[in-house]
Structure formats: C-alpha cells, structure tokens
C-alpha cells in the first residue's frame, strides 16, 4: 500500500512541476517525471511476492504460479516508447520556439507575442 502512495507522490511532484513552472524545459521535465510515475505504477501492480520474471528457461523448469504478471510489463514497454515519442516532439517544438523567441520562458513569450 505504501509503495502505491510513494508512486502517487512522484506523480504529484511531476504534475506540480508541469503546472507551476514557467520554463519550457522544466515543463517537459515535469511531463517526463509524470510518465515515470505512471510506468512505475504499472510495474508495482504486476509484482507477485517472491515471484520470478516471466521467462521460461530450457534447463530450470519454473512453476507457472510463481511467475510475475507479464501483461502490465508488456503495457509498460508500450507506454515507455509512447513517452519517448511525445518527449521528442515536445523538445523539437521547444527548440523551434527558442529559435524564434530567444527564450524558454512561456510568460515572456506571451508578452513578446503581444
């Protein structure tokens, strides 16, 4: 239970980072931290007490019951790559904005836009 709470605290730190900061790169970092928190939540949900990783090996015959839940792990792989995709696009947009406005600070940009 406490681990889920810690994961949600990380989620809130990320959301705080997005909403309360004005620098574009800081906002992107807030988004990355939120992505980490959600991926972590996936893995926490999948863990089974003293379970084994869900890979069969030819020599040792691992009983199926003792295996960890493979489904959230497959979903996390998808979520990680989606996070990378959105981060790459946001950084590209931020760099183009920096090239046009000369600053990363969204408040200044709003004034310059006029």
């Amino acid at each position: 239970m406490a681990l889920y709470l810690l994961c949600l605290v990380l989620f809130s730190v990320g959301v705080y980072g997005i909403l309360a900061r004005r620098n574009m790169i800081k906002i992107i970092i807030g988004v990355i931290v939120v992505e980490y928190a959600v991926n972590l939540f996936f893995i926490l949900v999948a863990y089974k007490k003293d379970g084994r990783s869900p890979i069969f090996s030819p020599d040792a015959d691992i009983p199926v019951q003792s295996m960890v839940d493979p489904l959230p792990q497959a979903l996390v792989l998808t979520a990680i790559v989606i996070g990378l995709a959105t981060t790459a696009l946001m950084v590209a947009i931020a760099m183009r904005i920096y090239e046009k406005y000369g600053t990363f600070d969204i408040a200044e940009i709003r004034e310059l836009r006029g």
Partner: protein, 182 residues
C-alpha cells in the same frame, strides 16, 4: 523489499531537485538519475525487459534533452514561478492524494495481483506462441495490435519532428493584394 523503498525515495528526492534547481543542465541530469532509479526498481521487481528498454530509452531521451539545453547562449532558467498558480496546484494535489489514498486500499494488496487473464497467458503462452519470453509473446502475438499502434506512434513522432523542424513552413504568397505578414 527495503531496496524498493530506498530507490523510490531517492527517485522522489531526485524529481523534486530536478524541478526546483535553477540551472537547466543540472535539472536534465537529475531527471536522468530518476530514470536510472526507475530502471533499477524494474530490475528489483523482476521485470528485465522493462529495465533494458527503460534504461536505453532513458539515454536517448537524455541526449535529445541535452541537445536542447546545451547550446552556447542558454542561461539558467528564470526564477519566475507563478505564485498563485502553485498554491492552487498544491491544494489540488493534496485533494487528489486524499481521494487516491482511500481508493488504493480497495485495490489488491501489493504482491498479490489477481492474474485472471495473465494466468492464461502464462499457461498457454509457451505452447501457443512458441516464444519463451512471455512479455515478447504478449507484445507480438496475443496483443500484437497494441504494438502496431505503438510503432505507429513512434513513426508519427519522427515524421512530426521532421515537419516541425522544416526551415520554411509556408511558401511566400505572390500576387495576393494586401498580404500583411502574420
């Protein structure tokens, strides 16, 4: 078990530092540390596939972020913080954590996942797909449609980056009277 708690607390402290510190470069590096912590937690929680992918994707995300912040004339981030905004945000987050606390008690406890569907994946996975690595079996056979969608997301992002990075977006309009420049 204790290792997970320590790693998680380190990650939270790292995240707070990454958001509060002034210099952009150091906050990017701190986020890298948080990502590394996540990769280690995945190893401890018996998810090797996720650990490898998280670690490697972490490196390329870090390189891209470093690329954005390391150019010569980028000075530190301004100290600006929307004071009213952060008060409201902190209040909203406190409410969110309270509601979450109550509802997490009803979830199955940590360490006892009810594996109704994934139990069948594990049981029939080896025979039906022939793959030994169950996570790959799910990714590419049971739920291959997800992976097709996800490969499309990455493809869209790369095409999007190519579109955003173009030097001239619009061709110059000739022969249009009174075309004021936006």
């Amino acid at each position: 078990m204790l290792a997970i708690y320590i790693l998680l607390i380190i990650m939270i402290i790292g995240a707070i530092i990454a958001i509060e510190v002034e210099d952009l470069l150091s906050s990017v590096v701190t986020v890298g540390a948080v990502g590394l912590g996540l990769s280690l937690v995945c190893l401890v929680l018996k998810a090797p596939d996720v650990a490898i992918t998280q670690f490697v994707v972490e490196i390329i995300a870090l390189i891209i972020l470093m690329r954005a912040t390391v150019s010569k004339d980028v000075h530190g981030s301004t100290i600006g913080r929307r004071l009213l905004g952060s008060m409201v945000v902190v209040g909203f987050i406190a409410v969110f954590l309270l509601v979450a606390m109550k509802s997490i008690e009803e979830l199955p406890a940590f360490g006892e996942p009810t594996m109704r569907i994934s139990g069948e994946y594990l049981a029939s996975g080896m025979s039906k797909t022939g793959a030994a690595n169950m996570v790959s079996a799910i990714l590419l056979d049971f739920r291959a449609y997800d992976t097709l969608g996800e490969a499309t997301v990455l493809f869209t992002a790369v095409i999007g980056v190519l579109a955003v990075v173009r030097r001239i977006g619009r061709k110059e309009k000739h022969g249009i009277p009174g075309r004021e420049d936006e």
